[in-house]
Subunit: 104 residues, 2 copies
């Protein structure tokens, strides 16, 4: 099992576009990536511009498969200077080893 | 559904005690807190002293119930100056609103 967190900020005034892009991406992951076991998007309660994605993949192959999908490539356009919805300078991606977990 | 992240650092040389305390806590949550849907402990791949707990509760009552358990109170002793296993100054707890998620 492989856990990843991704965090970044929604640019001011881009909330609706962000939500549409996220909804589309999550649907594509759900439909096409059986190895993505958890793919959970959040906004910070006190600072709703802050996004946290908590991701759990079955194995390294599932992580690699996610990175190579057309839907992720499309989503990453939301970080381009041209059509910026998210702040590219705020992106932080971290990988985690799972120690112990309850999941039900 | 309520999501929480908790992060903090293991103090140098306290890895084995940390692991034992975490294992005990996770077992207690698993056995006693049906409202704790995800309670997943991790160490940072590049910096194993860094802990991340990703928690999902069924509702506010389940969050409150978790806070009031004897097993959490016991675990919190690991942050006391006297029997320090984790660095109390490194603790960061954040609450998140779930936007959209895959979970399987």
């Amino acid at each position: 099992m492989r856990s990843v967190t991704a965090s970044f900020n929604i640019l001011p005034g881009k909330e609706a576009e962000a939500e549409a892009a996220i909804t589309k991406l999550v649907a594509a992951v759900e439909g096409n990536e059986p190895g993505a076991l958890i793919y959970a998007w959040h906004r910070h309660v006190k600072d709703p511009s802050r996004i946290l994605v908590f991701e759990v993949y079955a194995d390294d192959d599932a992580v690699q498969a996610h990175r190579e999908t057309a839907h992720l490539a499309e989503f990453q356009q939301c970080f381009s200077r041209k059509s910026a919805i998210f702040d590219p300078d705020s992106v932080k991606i971290e990988r985690w080893d799972r120690l112990a977990a309850v999941q039900r």
